[in-house]
């Protein structure tokens, strides 16, 4: 799997600001673990769709997704979300995007035992946990 691309993708979905973005919160660990377990049936197509994301980036901008400017990344993600892709995809791009958005949120906001939400970062950010208690 192209981990650089996955990293860039999840950081577009939950970007760093005053609080860590998805990658720094461990979301890629979470997604990779899920692809070996509960999402194993769709893992092959999902991984191929990450490559298809790069192929779309190359077709439009001649560089892979991780190298695009932020605005280019967002614009390409909006195209994938709406299914407006130029190449052929291993699964419906909107379906890939839904899985990506949901699993990124799951990795960021669920319990750290799942592999993401390192240091309970999202729980402190949202106020679900009081930092004084952690």
């Amino acid at each position: 799997m192209n981990t650089e691309t996955l990293r860039a993708l999840v950081d577009c979905l939950i970007p760093p600001d005053d609080f860590p973005g998805a990658y720094d919160a461990g979301v890629c660990n979470y997604v990779e673990r899920l692809l070996q377990t509960d999402l194993a049936d769709e893992a092959e197509l999902f991984v191929a769709s990450i490559d298809a994301t790069d192929a779309e980036a190359v077709a439009r901008y001649n560089v892979p997704f991780a190298v695009l400017t932020h605005d280019q990344q967002i614009s390409l993600l909006e195209a994938i979300e709406s299914g407006a892709v130029e190449s052929s995809w291993p699964m419906a791009p909107s379906r890939f995007f839904t899985i990506l958005v949901n699993t990124t949120a799951e990795g960021y906001y669920s319990d750290p035992q799942q592999g993401g939400n390192l240091g309970c970062v999202s729980w402190i950010m949202t106020g679900f946990e009081d930092p004084a208690d952690s």
């Binding site: 993600l77 319990d111 679900f128 009081d130």
Partner: protein, 546 residues
Amino acid sequence: MKKYDAIIIGTGAAGGIVACLLAEAGKHVLLLERGLALSFADVGRDHLRNQRLAIYGHNAGPELAGNPRVFVDPQGRSRLVKPHELDYHNNAACVGGGTRVYGAQAWRFHPDDFRMASKYGVPDGSSLADWPITYETLEPFYERAEWELGAAGDGDGIRSEIPRRRNYPLPPVPPSPQTVALENSARQLGWRTSPVPLLINTEAYRGRSACIACKYCVGFACPTDAKTGTQNTVIPRALATGNCELKTSAVAEAIETDDRGNVIGVSYFVNSSGTPQQVTARSRLVIISAGAIESARLLLNSRSPFHPTGLGNEYDQVGRNLQGHLYPRAYGLSSTKVFNGIGPGVTIATIQFNHDNPGIIGGGMLADDFIKPPIDFWYDSLPPDLPRWGAENKRFMRDNYTRVMHLRGPVQDIPNPDGRVTVDETVRDKWGVPVARLSGTTHPATVDAAEFMRERGEQWLRASGCEKVWSTQPGLILSGRQHQAGTCRMGSDAKDSVTDEWGRIHNHDNLFVVDGSLHVTNGGFNPVLTIMALAFRSAEYIARVI
């Protein structure tokens, strides 16, 4: 072969109570549970695999593999569903059943809930009917459930709608910042409110400790056993008598009958030693308490030349009128923080819209909500106009997780005979038994009532000063899930009901159903206290006649 006085199938809200009362009356009881006795650690705190948010699995059974159901959507397309999927309509399968992981709201039904047909008439396409008993008949058993198990609330706050002789044994949960805002706005609207009654020890009660106000109530197990379930009250009492034998991982296959069609026992599968075994146990009497879907399935799968379409099903009534609750949900963005991290989180309700709403049949209760873990909030509670991803989504989670007020409530189901449980001959579980097939929807009048209640939710939040309000409205779907009820209705006529007022199957003297299946209608409230009250009533009767 050993012959028991009674075999009880299921250890949930009803089965646990029946086992306890019979065992304490000196009867020899075999109590079968298809799941396991789950410890606090077994249930765990997985935010993605629990009874409230079950994305990839759940935490209180049944196992995902080998226990499918068939779901038929409103367009008539059928598909296999796994236990953690919404369309499976699961309730927990473990010792304690749903009470192991429920939220424990301890509502009585309203007196008018027992006379829906008389009050409203029967709309076309509905099987709306009166109960064979009144609220007054059940009232002492509600009181017994509240005092014997331990309910917390403020009886004076709801007495004007639902009369009662005695208050609750325990004080209500304390208010939160959200409670105060909702209470003040309700007063301005002229609405009455009360604390939400809960089967949770707000103080130590009957040997179990008090709630520690953690953030994991509904969907999870309680770390201090302050949340009351049958697994920590009546089942230990039953076992302490020495008269009750509890078998876990014991899956009922069929009710056994003799060559004249009389009920003589139960055949079941056990897997406790790792090797599956088929066992037949004999008893003078059988009580099915497996929940509205599995109780119906068991009767339908109990066929013989005397009962070719299943026991109790001469008139094709078993499995019909499956009911649960549609749940309208409303959310409002408050200008101040309303989350204080103190569980269970549900604190205030209004029950004045349960009846007498213009142009509406029934209605429902409306309350604030249990604490929602952030991922549950992300899936469930975000405004529809918020982007699902990107900086704006993250900012909303950061700024507003503690500022969103939640209201939701169960709307009285107007029963539809076509919303039903049958069995699917072509799909078998891992034991080879035909699985439940769920089809149909609730009646359109339920959707009208849900829409009315959604509007009340929005109204309440706007009056509370929320700057932005949004809501979700369930459509015309099958309801059931954890509030499943109605599939073996009580009544006086075998042509339109399955049991008599005690839960005894018509034309059988020794076969009973005691669980939510008996509910003729399911109220506009969480049904568990009614299931418990009926169980106390039926169990007292069964202990007398056995």
